[in-house]
């Protein structure tokens, strides 16, 4: 009885003891692959290319650049918006390239690379709603995505708004089109992407010019892995210096694409956010 109890206790102890911690960079090189968490539903950051049926995008290319530097192959893992941080924390993905916003609350849980994209979150509404300022959303139904930063931001900005959250952006956008809410909040690139998909119905919708927040998107890294962070930041800085960063932006968001950004409004240079 005592012997079995001791064995059981030892077993449990071993299971719960903190794992001997090797450097993540060495681990990934040993594995031979970099597991990247991506969304797969966020054009142009990570989405399914209709022709090749593979997940491609701005974030995917960044992930490939990091994998190339490590000398391993990329393995993409599709995640839900709300599952991104937990999956990285539990080690099921090595890096997050999933339209991840860098903010103070998340800094307590994970580390971030240099900001890879700086944009704002905006509001899309039908022209018939007569809404021109986010403040007019008090008492109205506002549609957004569960577990996202825009959910938190719109709650802070307009406390009187009734927030209806869906599992993903396409559902929230559909609800806007059906009139189940008066406004749809998402980050600027997703809104521009959804707007472009409207086709002739574009004349009925408008994206309000006021941003409800500035967002720094960055790659998510496991907390405490200094080696990995140095490597990833190094890759990003090299991309900036060699002009690859500019080319990457133009490839996915430039004037030839439906995003039609005329110029790149930021550089890969900082991982500091204010506020």
């Amino acid at each position: 009885m005592t012997r079995r109890f001791r064995l059981l206790a030892l077993g449990l102890l071993a299971a719960f003891a903190p794992l001997v911690h090797a450097d993540q960079v060495a681990d990934i090189k040993a594995k031979g692959e970099l597991v990247c968490g991506v969304l797969g539903t966020d054009d142009p950051f990570s989405f399914v290319d209709p022709k090749s049926r593979e997940i491609v995008g701005y974030d995917v290319d960044l992930c490939n650049a990091v994998a190339k530097k490590l000398g391993v192959k990329t393995s993409l893992k599709q995640l839900a918006v709300a599952a991104r941080v937990p999956e990285l924390q539990q080690g099921r993905v090595d890096i997050l390239a999933a339209s991840l916003t860098h903010n103070k609350e998340r800094e307590a849980l994970i580390d971030f690379s240099l900001s890879t994209f700086i944009t704002g979150q905006k509001v899309m509404t039908k022209k018939t709603s007569g809404i021109q300022q986010p403040a007019q959303l008090t008492g109205q139904k506002v549609l957004t995505v569960k577990g996202s930063t825009m959910e938190q931001n719109i709650k802070k900005l307009v406390p009187g708004a009734e927030i209806i959250s869906f599992d993903n952006s396409p559902q929230a956008f559909l609800a806007l089109q059906q009139g189940k809410g008066v406004a749809y909040v998402n980050d600027e690139t997703s809104l521009i992407d959804d707007f472009s998909k409207l086709g002739p119905a574009q004349k009925d919708y408008v994206i309000l010019p006021t941003s409800i927040s500035t967002e720094h998107l960055a790659l998510g890294l496991k907390k405490g892995e200094a080696g990995m962070k140095t490597l990833v930041d190094g890759v990003l800085r090299d991309m900036e210096k060699s002009g690859d960063a500019e080319k990457l932006f133009m490839k996915w968001l430039g004037p030839e694409t439906k995003m039609k950004f005329p110029a790149r409004p930021f550089k890969f240079e900082t991982d500091k956010i204010d506020g």
Partner: protein, 232 residues
């Protein structure tokens, strides 16, 4: 492992959110139960009438609903069905609480389909001589059911119906996919705001478990009373 912050759950804005979610879950379940039981009875009767046409209607209802996942029902009633309404009615509905309405409709139909099968089994366990004797006395189908068969059948059907009630209570959590702010949705909101997933989901678990135990307790009480009264 960070420490369990009970204070988060017992006071403050997050506590209010979670409690509001709990009450909405209770309301969803109660409202659905009130609507589903008469509907279940109606569908069960449809399947037992002598008329082939009415049998077919009942059969189609039950099979069409039971064989589709509840999630699909909720999404259909929220995204699909209202679009077919005339414009004026649609806009009035969207201004109101379409999310809760769609969820309650989906849950009612789903629960009623299962409950009607339980009621039908209960009726089938009453010897058919009862119905024949009632008809022989001159009662028509509906009256014989009402006065003779159903009172006996419903006594047998109560345990399965209570277990359907238990399923319903847990199924109310599905309403969160269309943005209904019930308990599990609120737990997710609290979790994404505070990153304290353990506390948030502990509250939701305790809520679901608590009411489930109450429902099970009712079932046990019923069994004892029936057993005791019938002396079986």
């Amino acid at each position: 492992m960070s420490d369990f912050d009970l204070h988060l759950l017992t006071a403050g804005p997050y506590h209010e959110q979670l409690v509001a979610g709990f009450w909405l879950s209770i309301k969803l379940a109660a409202g659905t139960l009130v609507l589903a039981m008469p509907l279940a009875l109606l569908v069960a009767l449809l399947r037992m009438t002598p008329s082939r046409l009415l049998n077919g209607v009942g059969f189609t209802f039950v099979e069409a609903i039971r064989n589709v996942p509840l999630l699909a029902h909720i999404l259909f009633w929220y995204f699909g069905a209202p679009e077919l309404l005339p414009e004026g009615l649609k806009l009035w509905l969207y201004r109101g609480n379409i999310e809760v309405a769609a969820a309650v409709i989906a849950l009612t139909l789903y629960t009623a389909a299962y409950m009607s099968e339980d009621i039908r089994s209960g009726v089938r366990s009453v010897p058919k001589e009862q119905l024949e004797a009632a008809r022989a006395l001159g009662f028509n189908f509906l009256t014989s059911m009402r006065l003779v068969v159903l009172p006996q059948a419903l006594r047998i059907t109560v345990p399965p119906l209570i277990s359907q009630g238990l399923s319903l209570w847990k199924n109310t959590s599905m309403a969160m996919v269309v943005g209904v702010a019930e308990m599990l949705y609120q737990a997710q909101q609290v979790e994404s705001a505070t990153f304290r997933s353990f506390e948030a989901f502990a509250f939701a678990t305790a809520g679901y478990l608590g009411v489930s135990l109450v429902i099970t307790g009712i079932a046990v009480l019923y069994e004892h009373r029936v057993r005791g009264a019938a002396g079986r």
